[in-house]
């Protein structure tokens, strides 16, 4: 299953090769041309009739991970996060570093003082143990700058949920692959699977600049906080309520006229739709909509719980509904959808 493969592949910012290679293989039969640009974005083109509008679909390939920044004299690995990670989720997790197993350990509860137990562990206090006895031994397997990844297996869970790592934004990549399999005669479709979103929307800046689309649709796995102890007004998105359309985030104000058309399309086609009701975070749309002289851009999000952690969750129906909504927008563009 493609989403499982995508989720389990390792590829953090600047090291997206495995994801890129897989996507390249997956979409080759469905597109007219494929290229990798100078920063590593995978760009696929699916041509339509002459003079059709050029529509850019984007999803980022990179996931958050850890980078080895120091090997201690006794063979432990110190690290820094690539992208935004809450250090509190790291304690007591297994990781994979350059094919080697490791664990992020911590001092046993028996050895902690009462006060220590109340204190979150800081990044500087954490390290990866790969079982090496010395720096020399560790260096046989690990180089500075190597990445450590979460090792969560992809599985179905509960009623219609998937559990896995890196749904942000492999789920977006998956949606685009499924979209590319369809025919859109009156569109020039360009898909950009971007790099380095998690460290500052880097790949999308470059991709938008050289693809110069008329309109862009960014597909993201986004935050959801519809959890037990959180008040409804702070959920941002809710699982099972369909794709979430962005209205505002840290880098983009989405055009209300575009939003309204998507709302109407969803209604007509009976696709559940919700708004992304929070403004923290940002995504590739930020760099795309302000590229060159401005590109009308929307962001459609698959709600994910526990994002940027080893184990996140998505709903299968949300993914299917996102795929359908993207299709409806694309089908409407040549004649009905104005930007």
């Amino acid at each position: 299953m493609l989403l499982k493969t995508l989720s389990e592949l390792q590829g953090t910012s600047g090291a997206e090769k495995k994801v890129r290679d897989l996507l390249q293989e997956e979409i080759t039969p469905y597109v007219d041309s494929l290229a990798v640009d100078k920063i590593g974005n995978l760009i696929a083109v699916k041509k339509g009739a002459k003079n059709s509008p050029k529509v850019l679909l984007t999803a980022h390939m990179d996931e958050v991970a850890l980078m080895v920044t120091e090997i201690t004299p006794d063979g432990f690995l110190k690290f820094r996060p690539v992208g935004g990670i809450d250090p509190r989720i790291l304690v007591s997790k297994p990781v994979k570093v350059s094919g080697i197993n490791g664990v992020i350990g911590s001092k046993a509860i028996h050895l902690q003082k009462t006060q220590e137990r109340q204190q979150a562990l800081k990044l500087d206090q954490l390290y990866i143990d790969i079982g090496a006895n010395s720096k020399e031994e560790a260096e046989r397997y690990i180089k500075l700058g190597d990445y450590a990844y979460f090792v969560t297996g992809f599985e179905a869970l509960g009623q219609a949920f998937f559990k896995g790592k890196a749904f942000d934004d492999r789920v977006g990549c998956y949606v685009i692959v499924e979209t590319l399999k369809k025919r859109f005669d009156n569109l020039n479709l360009v898909a950009a699977f971007t790099v380095q979103e998690e460290v500052g929307l880097r790949g999308s800046k470059v991709a938008a600049y050289h693809t110069q689309p008329d309109f862009a649709l960014n597909i993201e796995g986004t935050i959801s906080a519809d959890m037990a102890h959180i008040e409804e007004e702070e959920w941002v998105t809710e699982l099972g309520k369909g794709p979430a359309l962005s209205i505002q985030d840290q880098t983009t104000l989405y055009n209300p006229l575009l939003i309204k058309q998507v709302v109407d399309l969803a209604k007509q086609n009976k696709i559940p739709l919700q708004f992304r009701r929070g403004t923290s975070g940002n995504n590739d749309a930020g760099k795309i909509h302000s590229s060159r002289t401005g590109i009308p851009t929307l962001s459609i999000n698959v709600p994910c719980r526990y994002i940027h952690s080893p184990a996140s969750m998505v709903r299968q129906d949300d993914i299917q509904n996102t795929i359908q909504l993207v299709e409806e927008i694309l089908r409407a563009i040549p004649d009905h959808f104005i930007f």
Binding site: K38, I39, M67, T69, G145, V195, G200, V206
Partner: protein, 353 residues
Amino acid sequence: MKKERDQQAKEFLKKLSEYHGVSGYERSIAPLVIQEFQVSADEVRTDRFENIYAHKKGKKGRYKIMLAAHMDEIGLMVKKIDPRGFLRFSAVGGVDQRTLLSQEVTIHGRQSILGVIGSMPPHLVREEGNKAVKIEDMGIDVGLPYEEIQKLIRVGDIITLKRSPIELLGGLIAGKSLDDRAGVVVMQICLQELHKLHHDHDVIAVTTTQEEVGLRGALTSAYTINPDLAIAIDVTHAATPDTKDQVSVELGKGPAVAIGPNIHPQIFDRLTEAAQNVRIPVQIEPIAGMSGTDAWAIQVSQAGVPTGLLSIPLRYMHTSVETLDMQDVVNSGILLAHFIASLPEDLEGYICY
């Protein structure tokens, strides 16, 4: 020969260190930079953003390699002149307020004026002795009456720290603005070394402006050149007794070669290979995200630029006693030259993912 080169490099760095060029006001240092690069480059030009481009042509000239080191320094700016004649000031770039008390400064008004950032005598410091004095509570004393000051100094005038470079034991140099004037010296050494080597590609060494306020000169110059490959040269923190667990790069152990999202993997590989070939020690510097250097701006210019980063280890960054090892500077220049000479003729194919 070698000795002469090293001596020249040291003298150039000391001169650069003493010159003034706060972000946005690099014109005062530009003549020195232009004059030096005119010796090593085929052509030197400037742009509207005050960036300086030293162009050395390659044998083939099909591809452009950009080198970038910034010449601006952090500084201060007059923001208010109080009626008693003290100058209130604001910081330009990342100034550590704790390093300012009791410093001698130069105010670049209608003429250069000497001043001192005043401090309370210890006898009068009371309960707040353990708190750092805030920059907004400091004043510069120029020893002139208000009327006189008004003739000479205006709000918006630039202030720099007065500091001549100092030589320490073991070839170390301390002074202000070695961040990143040392990088400028590295580019100069590189261009000189390239005269002895064969290189296919054009090299454009850009002395950039306004790095300290947001990589602004790199942003505009990278757009202008649109290079095929770029290397930024900057300084990086070197370990001191108070930076354990934070810093692992050390002074005198060679230039630091960065690795991470900001860096094209092929460039990292070739820099370390080139170092092995010419027997120059290097240190690996993993950077998990934003590098905070010109490389960060250059990498995403236009349709993207494969980018590398070479850093000179430096202690006490952003103070007036920044300290580095001259050998690291010279080695960085030589390494860079050999890296450029080693690049294949088909650059595009080489750097493709």
